[in-house]
């Protein structure tokens, strides 16, 4: 780090106050719109939107497992990306040693990636 600045937890105080402010804003708007808007509930209005057809049963049906595989793979690669950030920040100091370390780390992961490609994990099954 080039900057001589000291980083302390106090840097994060604005985030907290910002979140309170925006929370306040959203809540106020919600309350305001409750007071302003009309309230005329009819049975038809409270139905789910179904293109004019009557709704049947529960809409929360199970869905394809493919999305789940995508989500799992995302977690794995996300962690890899996060591991790369501390390396990138220290890139020039770590030099060739860090480079070799990261390349050998990525090599295993990339070989896994190649395997996934060949296996057709990213192909959408019919």
């Amino acid at each position: 780090m080039i900057c001589a600045k000291v980083y302390t937890p106090i840097d994060y105080l604005p985030i907290m106050i910002q979140s309170f402010v925006v929370l306040g804003f959203v809540v106020t708007t919600m309350i305001a719109t409750h007071m302003l808007g009309p309230k005329r509930n009819t049975k038809q209005k409270l139905e789910n939107f179904e293109c004019g057809i009557e709704g049947m049963g529960n809409a929360r049906s199970p869905f394809s497992v493919k999305y789940f595989v995508i989500a799992i793979l995302f977690v794995l690669f996300d962690v890899e990306v996060i591991f790369l950030y501390p390396w990138a920040v220290n890139f020039k100091e770590l030099g060739i040693q860090g480079f070799v370390g990261v390349v050998s780390f990525s090599a295993l992961l990339l070989s896994g990636f190649g395997y996934l490609m060949l296996k057709g994990a990213f192909d959408w099954e019919k």
Partner: protein, 458 residues
């Protein structure tokens, strides 16, 4: 170090070779890789490797256990082609995952830093969660996978909490620093003791010691038998090696924090493991409980730290691994044959159907029971000697009683095999399969006759 890398790279190689769809290619590559790893491991004997910024220490202790585990894996891999006959799906993946799990197991035995121990345990366990559920359409297999995952991750959480408390007091993950802390500090804070207790508990889960054993029978029964063989041997040995090393290097100076706990685990495992095993109808379940009772015996080594206990633990692991693999190997054939269930009745008349298998099973059962001229006898003998040297005579008496109870259910199986039956259809196996089983059997006998070969190693 190189052997771990070899194992991991062989795993990656297997993944890609799987696309060739030729099972002989990938089995031969797997075996070649494992033999190379074993050779690399054996050749680094007596050359202490520590230069990994204090993360790994590959001393003779680690090399000995690694070699046993790699050897056990080779035997399991020799059984694999016959086991997976007819099932072509995901076989290379299963091989690769076994490799990765083995790599993790090798890290576990040679840790020098608690972070490395943690990563090793996870690398060892995560492939196993998947492997336990690798029979995708079997409900029992799914149940096994899920149970193993839940209990194992609970154990990991406990383990992490233990590490945290230790780190919080000691200020280091390094094994040397931790043992230094205990030599310097006279008054050990109670929270550190809680941390040690938590570590012991989590290892109790991993090695399936009573009362943390309840996952083991279901998982062993539900998983594919080949995976069960791997779990019962490699994973258990790795767990014991790490457990022994952790307590002997880090916490040897604070025995009062964990001694009673180990004592309780050991006695309970002996009693409950053996009594429950007698009642089992299913052979796989019986072997699961017998493995719990073996945990009780192996804990003797940890109970009595002395110059002899490490080598007695090694010998016991070796004997136990060989007999377990032989037993599971025979069980696999019997179970697959005519889609018989794994009950004791299925073994009736095995001596007629396939005499080699019957002999292999008999010797392995005798070894597990601890009958002389098999390795199992000296395994129990050395572990008892080690316990007596440590001053635990009354525990040894319980152990001997438990071993006598054990003989009952092992004999039940042997008697069933030599019983007469009307059904006399031959059971055929592949030559590779028989080779693996015979190697295990012969080694059981050799180790039983010449115990000094192994006991004098470390």
């Amino acid at each position: 170090m190189f052997s771990i890398i070899t194992i991991a790279i062989t795993g990656v190689l297997l993944l890609y070779l799987g696309f060739l769809k030729n099972r002989w290619i990938y089995i031969s590559v797997a075996i070649t890789g494992l033999i190379t790893a074993l050779a690399l491991s054996v050749f680094s004997w007596n050359s202490l490797e520590t230069s990994f910024s204090n993360m790994l220490i590959i001393d003779n202790y680690a090399i000995a256990f690694n070699s046993v585990m790699i050897f056990a894996t080779i035997l399991i891999f020799l059984l694999a082609p016959h086991y997976f006959k007819g099932i072509e799906k995901n076989v290379p993946e299963i091989y690769a995952l076994l490799m990765f799990s083995l790599a993790g197991a090798c890290m576990v035995t040679s840790f020098d830093n608690l972070t490395m121990l943690f990563i090793g345990i996870e690398t060892m366990s995560i492939p196993l969660y998947i492997l336990a559920g690798s029979k995708k359409f079997s409900i029992r297999s799914n149940e096994a996978s899920f149970k193993y995952f839940i209990f194992s991750s609970l154990a990991t959480a406990i383990f992490l909490l233990g590490i945290t408390l230790v780190y919080g007091m000691v200020g280091s993950f390094h094994v040397g620093d931790i043992s230094n802390y205990f030599t310097i500090t006279k008054e050990i804070p109670s929270i550190l003791k809680v941390g040690i207790v938590l570590l012991v508990i989590s290892f109790g889960f991993k090695i399936a010691a009573v009362p943390f054993h309840f996952w083991a029978p279901d998982v062993y029964e539900g998983s594919p038998t080949l995976i069960t063989a791997f779990m019962a041997t490699v994973v258990k040995i790795a767990g014991f090696a790490a457990f022994y090393k952790l307590l002997s290097t880090c916490f040897i100076l604070v025995p009062d924090s964990w001694h009673h706990l180990i004592l309780g685990l050991s006695v309970l495992s002996l009693i409950i493991g053996n009594l429950a095993a007698i009642k089992q109808k299913d052979v796989k379940r019986m072997l699961a409980y017998s493995s719990i009772s073996h945990t009780g015996f192996m804990l003797f080594a940890i109970l009595s730290f002395n110059s002899f206990s490490a080598s007695s633990l090694l010998y016991y692991s070796f004997a136990y691994a060989l007999s377990t693999i032989a037993a599971f190997g025979v069980l696999m054939v019997v179970k697959n044959h005519m889609s018989a269930d794994g009950s004791v009745q299925a073994f009736e008349g095995l001596a007629k159907k396939n005499p080699i298998l019957a002999i292999v099973m008999t010797i392995s059962m005798l070894s597990m029971a601890g009958i002389p001229i098999t390795a199992g006898f000296f395994a129990k003998y050395y572990i008892f000697v080690s316990a007596i040297q440590g001053g635990w005579l009354w525990i040894v008496i319980i152990g001997i009683l438990a071993a006598l109870v054990g003989v009952a259910y092992y004999l039940k199986l042997i008697i069933a095999m030599f019983a007469k039956t009307s059904e006399t259809e031959k059971i055929v196996t592949s030559p590779l399969y028989i080779t693996s089983l015979l190697v295990a059997t012969v080694l059981i006998l050799i180790a039983g006759v010449l115990p000094n070969l192994i006991i004098s190693l470390i």
